[in-house]
């Protein structure tokens, strides 16, 4: 029997879903609402200097990549099934489109973070 590649995609889906469930609301509140509109946090929380420092540390790079990549893989897996639910049955094309987008996003994020030198 041919080995299924489903466990790989399902693991990425699960990891992304778990990360989003655990800290997603806090992240959206911080980056999308509180900091841009000067609530709760110091106004320079997401300043260029601070974000550059964060992305220069390995811990920061890994955290940023984990959030972006896992969210993308999580979404790709669900959207690929959603398209099937809405009657789009070109399985291979949909898979390539969804997982391909997540892969592309992951590569761009990883490459960009690596170019940010300490």
């Amino acid at each position: 029997m041919k080995r299924s590649n489903e466990p790989i995609f399902w693991s990425l889906f699960g990891a992304g879903g778990m990360l989003a469930a655990l800290i997603g609301p806090a992240l959206v509140f911080i980056t999308g609402i509180a900091v841009p509109f000067g609530l709760v946090f110091k106004p320079d929380t997401m300043s260029y200097a601070h974000m550059l420092a964060l992305s220069q540390s390995w811990a920061g790079k890994i955290f940023i990549l984990a959030v972006i990549a896992l969210f993308l893989w999580h979404a790709a897996h669900r959207i690929h099934i959603l398209l099937h639910d809405f009657g789009i049955h070109a399985v291979t094309a949909v898979r390539i489109l969804c997982y391909g987008s997540a892969f592309a996003g992951t590569v761009v994020a990883a490459y960009t973070l690596l170019t940010i030198k300490p």
Binding site: A21, L22, G24, T31, G32, P36, S55, V67, A75
Partner: protein
């Protein structure tokens, strides 16, 4: 091919037929917003790598009313994602036994939601302490 044209029930709008399917759709459609939020962050990282002016442009963009509306919607969707994620967790995780008894669904969901609240508060406090 025969000339019979048997009746095939249309599947259009199948998910509107039942409250269970509607909840399923609501849960799965959150993924679209998770992807959009990840794309916003991805843009932030790319702009960050392009220097201060580029990154400040991204920060300014976050302050536009449309992005505020977008993020308020995303926040609501993420909260729903958290709730629904742990709501289905009793079905998605392997069966667990504690002290010879099967872990009850309510315990699993409750523990997950409590963990989320703690994790979110931890992130908020860490970020508030930084900078």
């Amino acid at each position: 091919m025969s000339n019979r044209r048997p009746y095939v029930r249309s599947m259009d709008g199948w998910w509107k037929r039942d409250a269970y399917f509607i909840r399923y759709m609501a849960r799965e459609i959150t993924a679209v917003f998770v992807a959009l939020y990840a794309i916003v962050l991805l843009f932030g990282v790319v702009r960050l790598s392009q220097g201060e002016a580029a990154f400040n442009g991204w920060l300014q963009y976050l302050k536009t009313p449309w992005m505020l509306v977008f993020h308020v919607i995303v926040l609501a969707v993420f909260c729903y994602h958290t709730w629904s994620w742990f709501n289905i967790m009793p079905k998605t995780m392997p069966i667990m036994f504690v002290g010879g008894k099967r872990l009850q669904p309510g315990v699993i969901t409750g523990t997950g939601l409590a963990a989320s609240v703690i994790a979110c508060l931890a992130v908020l406090f860490i970020v508030r302490g930084m900078s």
